[in-house]
């Protein structure tokens, strides 16, 4: 775990209330793997005491930079959106367990809204390893489908569905994945983020289509390093019967979809 500072290199509005932030922080950039996250703090406000967890959209070790795609949700992210290039941010990370990619074959990524953010780092790494990547993105409106051009660079196919614009008939990404798989394409692993409904929907598909699916969970955090025990999720107790609490920050944020109690 690195406790450090970084400088904002770029802050770009990508949609109304959505930003792409680039931070120069070579130490974390050289250590982080897809699926991990950082705790960020970029304000001197007495009323806003805690850092906030942010997923990593792109990890750029050669440039010594991290890219973070985020949505303004509350006071912390609103403050973050006001920071400009040259401003300093405090970082803790890389936190959590990242994803484990298969050695070969194909993966699918299912992202809903801002949940697409951590999937980008996975797509990039998978493509670099020679894996076939199939990306499925959905959002309420077309302009909230984030990063589709970036995903296109690393994916065999990017399939988009929107609610309001009825692209792909507003269908669920799990149904669109099933369509792809019935074309005879097979995937080894599926990663999803941004929708509990999608993650739940993947559970029965695993045995049907022969893949293993993982969800990247989000939870309110105070420390991001396992100290506060505040960010727990419910996980089925091993051996069946009952529930255990696991820390999203330390035991996750990546969990097998069939272990999470939804």
């Amino acid at each position: 775990m690195i406790f450090t500072k970084g400088k904002i290199v770029e802050q770009k509005a990508v949609a109304n209330g959505y930003y792409l932030l680039s931070i120069a922080q070579p130490d974390i950039a050289s250590k982080a793997i897809p699926g991990q996250f950082v705790m960020l703090k970029a304000w001197e406000r007495g009323d806003l005491i805690l850092p906030r967890p942010f997923s990593l959209y792109r990890i750029l070790p050669r440039q010594g930079q991290l890219q973070i795609l985020y949505k303004v949700r509350g006071k912390g992210t609103a403050e973050m959106a006001r920071r400009v290039p040259g401003d300093e941010v405090e970082l803790i990370g890389p936190s959590g367990n990242g994803v484990t990619l298969p050695a070969k074959g194909a993966i699918a990524l299912l992202g809903r809204g801002i949940g697409a953010a951590p999937l980008m780092a996975i797509a990039e790494e998978a493509a670099a390893k020679g894996l076939a990547v199939y990306t499925f993105l959905s959002a309420r409106k077309r302009e909230l489908v984030l990063g589709d051009e970036d995903f296109a660079r690393y994916s065999r196919r990017v399939i988009v569905a929107t609610d309001a614009d009825q692209e792909n008939g507003s269908r669920l990404l799990t149904d669109l994945l099933a369509d792809l798989l019935s074309e005879g394409i097979s995937v080894d692993r599926v990663f999803t983020c941004g929708s509990k409904r999608l993650a739940r929907g993947l559970v029965p598909m695993q045995s049907q289509y022969g893949f293993k699916a993982y969800v990247l969970l989000e939870e309110v955090m105070a420390c991001g390093i396992g100290a506060c025990k505040g960010c727990v999720c419910k996980i089925a107790a091993p051996g069946g019967g009952g529930v255990v609490y696991k820390k999203v920050c330390q035991d996750g944020p990546v969990f097998p979809v069939d272990e999470v109690v939804w």
Binding site: I49, A222, C223, I225, A227, C228, K229, C231, Y245
Partner: protein, 307 residues
């Protein structure tokens, strides 16, 4: 000139400096420390119960203005796992180790302590009386007689120093402090979190899974300081101050009110280096103001108003 910032909390318990983490706010796993834990006056563990406790259902956290509400609910690995897995790792740090003990019955605190007595390297126990008593669901720390009973049993179980952690959720903190002193406490630590809640207006329901939580952070510092002041005036044992301490100046306020040592909780989440900064800040303050030792300033704000 070197200043002496060591503190004696009980006979045989002298900490090299007065700064320690509040129980449950400091992660002592490998690879998660922003600085060497040996720099601390003492390490205070998460609360240990007799058997494992899962803690409360999520959501467990809600940040409020200048504060943090938590309903974590004292998850504990249990005595056996603590003894076998955690304690050996903690002993290797070259500083004092204070084990926080939790229980849900009058006898459980003493049982946990009895299970740790054969272990070397424990400097003291801190009794977390803020958990609800199984009998009536009311925390020990708000019932003087019940707390005193649990404390007396713990006292019989060990010769090691006992620190009693007090809750602010009482009408008169002096009553609780005196009950703890009478029950055999060597020192007191206060305050634990202040009971509160938050409601999500969009979902129109309580934010926390447990509905109620404990408020910590800068928002509660004035309450904590007032209660430390009152307690110092009501007992003759050392008082450890905590509650919203965020920097050196906050810590100094507690010493000037009469606290012998301090603990830092929520601020560790915001700034993992904060305890180290406070240790250095205290020494600098003493030097700049020509004091030779920390004990010279303990309670000075009290004498100031007597003059």
């Amino acid at each position: 000139m070197q200043v002496d910032i060591s503190v004696e909390l009980a006979s045989g318990l002298r900490l090299k400096n007065p700064v320690m983490p509040a129980s449950g706010t400091y992660e002592y796993g490998d690879n998660v420390n922003a600085f060497d834990p040996a720099e601390l006056g003492a390490i205070v563990t998460k609360s240990i119960s007799l058997v494992p406790w899962p803690g409360n259902a999520p959501p467990r956290l809600c940040e409020t203005s200048s504060g943090l509400l938590n309903a974590v609910g004292i998850p504990s690995e249990g005595l056996k796992s603590f003894r076998e897995n955690t304690l050996p790792r903690l002993k290797k740090y070259n500083t004092d180790l204070i084990v926080s003990v939790a229980g849900k019955s009058v006898t459980e605190f003493a049982q946990v302590i009895a299970g740790l007595e054969a272990e070397e390297g424990i400097s003291a126990y801190e009794l977390n009386f803020s958990c609800p008593n199984l009998g009536n669901g009311i925390p020990f720390a708000t019932q003087p007689q019940l707390m005193q009973q649990a404390l007396e049993q713990a006292r019989q179980a060990t010769a090691r120093p006992l620190i009693v952690k007090l809750s602010p959720n009482v009408t008169d903190i002096k009553v609780m402090a005196q009950a703890a002193e009478k029950g055999g406490a060597d020192a007191l630590a206060l305050i634990n979190t202040v009971t509160g809640m938050a409601i999500d207006v969009e979902r129109r329901r309580p934010v926390l899974g447990n509905i109620f939580g404990g408020l910590s952070g800068p928002a509660i510092k004035p309450i904590a300081l007032r209660m430390v002041w009152e307690t110092v005036g009501a007992v003759s044992i050392p008082v450890i101050g905590l509650g919203g301490i965020n920097n050196t100046a906050d810590a100094l306020e507690f010493f000037l009110a009469g606290a012998s040592a301090i603990q830092v909780g929520t601020a560790n989440f915001a700034n993992p280096l904060v305890m180290l900064e406070i240790i250095k800040g205290i020494a600098n303050y003493l030097q700049e103001n020509k004091f030779t030792k920390l004990t010279d300033i303990v309670g000075l704000a009290r004498t100031a108003i007597e003059e």
